[in-house]
């Protein structure tokens, strides 16, 4: 089912999403991938504050290519989410509402999604040029020295994603594959 949703959003909106829904996101999301997650984790271990308030926010696992002049961003598709599994459940427990990536998640992350009424969206991997057209603006807000891996605040308009794991833990990667399996 096609839905339009404003980001960030709360528990109520998250619980209304179902695995398999096609959703267009409009509003503010944040990017972070391997190196930024490692650094955020070290920040938490020192007992310090994260560089942005993650409560109700969506993290997009993405490191863009450089923007050409006059454009907000370069190519901007999702990276493999499982590399962030080590960090995701802690961040979800701190109130992060969800993430956008591609690929399988660990059972630990799936449980954290259920526990926190969160959501895991997939964007289409390898469609970075197309996805960049739904990004209106991009601003580095932390870890500038990490280059493509810096944390960016993105304004998105009708950014297309698919609900893979919903707040009840249903997983589209399992159900959809079984539907089309012929062997």
């Amino acid at each position: 089912m096609d839905k339009h949703l404003t980001v960030p959003f709360g528990e109520k909106e998250a619980t209304e999403l179902r695995s398999g829904d096609y959703v267009y996101l409009t509003g503010t999301i944040y990017t972070a991938r391997d190196a930024a997650h490692k650094r955020m984790f070290e920040t938490l271990e020192r007992g310090e504050e994260l560089p942005f308030d993650i409560r109700n926010n969506i993290i997009y696992y993405m490191g863009p290519s450089p923007a050409r002049e006059g454009r907000p961003i370069g190519s901007a598709g999702p990276t493999t989410a499982s590399r962030m599994d080590k960090y995701a459940s802690t961040l979800l427990d701190l109130g992060q509402r969800g993430m956008i990536g591609k690929g399988k998640r660990s059972e630990e992350v799936r449980k954290a999604i259920i526990r926190n009424k969160a959501v895991y969206f997939a964007a289409v991997g390898g469609a970075g040029a197309l996805l960049s057209k739904s990004i209106v603006s991009s601003e580095v807000i932390a870890y500038d020295d990490l280059g493509t891996e810096a944390i960016r605040k993105l304004e998105v308009k009708d950014f297309p994603v698919i609900v893979v794991i919903d707040s009840e833990g249903n997983n589209l990667y399992e159900t959809a594959i079984n539907e089309y399996k012929e062997d």
Binding site: G20, Y22, A35, M62, G63, P64, S65, P66, A67, R68, R71, G74, S75, A76, G77, T79, T80, S82, K102, G103, K104, A122, V124, G125, G126, A127, G128, A129, L130, S132, K133, L146, G147, T148, P160, I162, V164, L172, Y173, T175, A176, I177, N178, E179, Y180, K181, E182, D183
Partner: protein, 280 residues
């Protein structure tokens, strides 16, 4: 003998890095087009259409097809009658990669040390494979490799007794384990035989063969066709979200091996199977 200045190598490598990251080869575009027409799943079809739209936007607006513009893998076939002047060939290739990735707005994804992980900020060094061949030309293939799919690649050191069924099972296992992580529809490059490192290199080379061409060895061609059909029955589908298009091609290269061994390497590539070839 023929003399070639290394500056010509640098210029070509620079252009090829930019070209490979913005335009797919015609065989890849045709394979995606066919897949979009045949896909059974509605969501799968929608994703395949988006991938085609993505290619159009990439070419029209000069935005890389994928933000992971890869680590530059370079195959060089150097004619032994060529004399190079002006510097070292390896330096000239790396300079081309540096210029291509910097001036072409491509992502710098290479870290200097695998554990210290400091970005080199110009995507060098490339991974370069040299082969000396007959003639007075240099053939260069640039294949930028993204790591979503590279991370799902495997080497299996099988036993001779495992035979052809063992090889097929290994390939299917690698593809099923890769699933949605490798950005399907994939291209599956396979190397069978040789040694531990030789089979991996053949698997990588197999990815640069056009997806509409089969092996010239009849039994290998049959294996390629059978495996492609089986992979497309797994249900993984475009984006791993279900469907009948999980791979666009299975390309296999074989080589003689040892009496005690049956090495098999599976190098998985996403649908952004990039390569650019020039002969200088």
């Amino acid at each position: 003998m023929r003399t070639i200045h290394v500056n010509e190598i640098t210029r070509n490598v620079k252009e090829m890095c930019i070209e490979a990251n913005h335009y797919l080869t015609d065989d890849m575009k045709a394979a995606l087009d066919q897949a979009a027409q045949k896909e059974k799943a509605p969501l799968g079809k929608q994703i395949l259409n988006q991938l085609q739209e993505n290619l159009e936007i990439a070419a029209k607006d000069m935005i890389p097809i994928c933000q992971d513009t890869g680590m530059a893998v370079v195959f060089v076939e150097l004619g032994q009658e060529v004399v190079l002047e002006g510097g070292l060939l390896t330096d000239a290739i790396n300079e081309g990669v540096r210029q291509g990735y910097t001036e072409g707005f491509l992502r710098k994804s290479v870290v200097k040390d695998p554990l210290i992980r400091e970005n080199t900020k110009d995507n060098t060094p490339a991974v370069i494979h040299y082969n000396i061949v007959a003639g007075d030309k240099i053939k260069i293939t640039i294949a930028p490799k993204g790591f979503g799919s590279e991370n799902m690649s495997r080497v299996f050191m099988l036993k001779p007794a495992d035979g052809i069924e063992g090889v097929k099972n290994a390939i299917l296992t690698a593809v099923k384990d890769a699933g949605p992580n490798a950005c399907p529809p994939m291209v599956v490059g396979v190397g069978i035989g040789g040694t531990f490192e030789k089979c991996a290199l053949m698997a990588k080379q197999a990815l640069t063969r056009p997806v509409n061409q089969h092996s010239e060895i009849p039994y290998v061609k049959e294996m390629e066709e059978e495996l492609l059909a089986k992979i497309n029955q797994t249900g993984i589908g475009p984006g791993g979200l279900g469907g009948s298009t999980t791979a666009l091609a299975v390309n296999i290269i074989t080589y003689p091996t040892h009496i005690a061994g049956l090495p098999v390497a599976v190098n998985i590539c996403c649908h952004v199977n990039r390569h650019c070839v020039r002969e200088i």
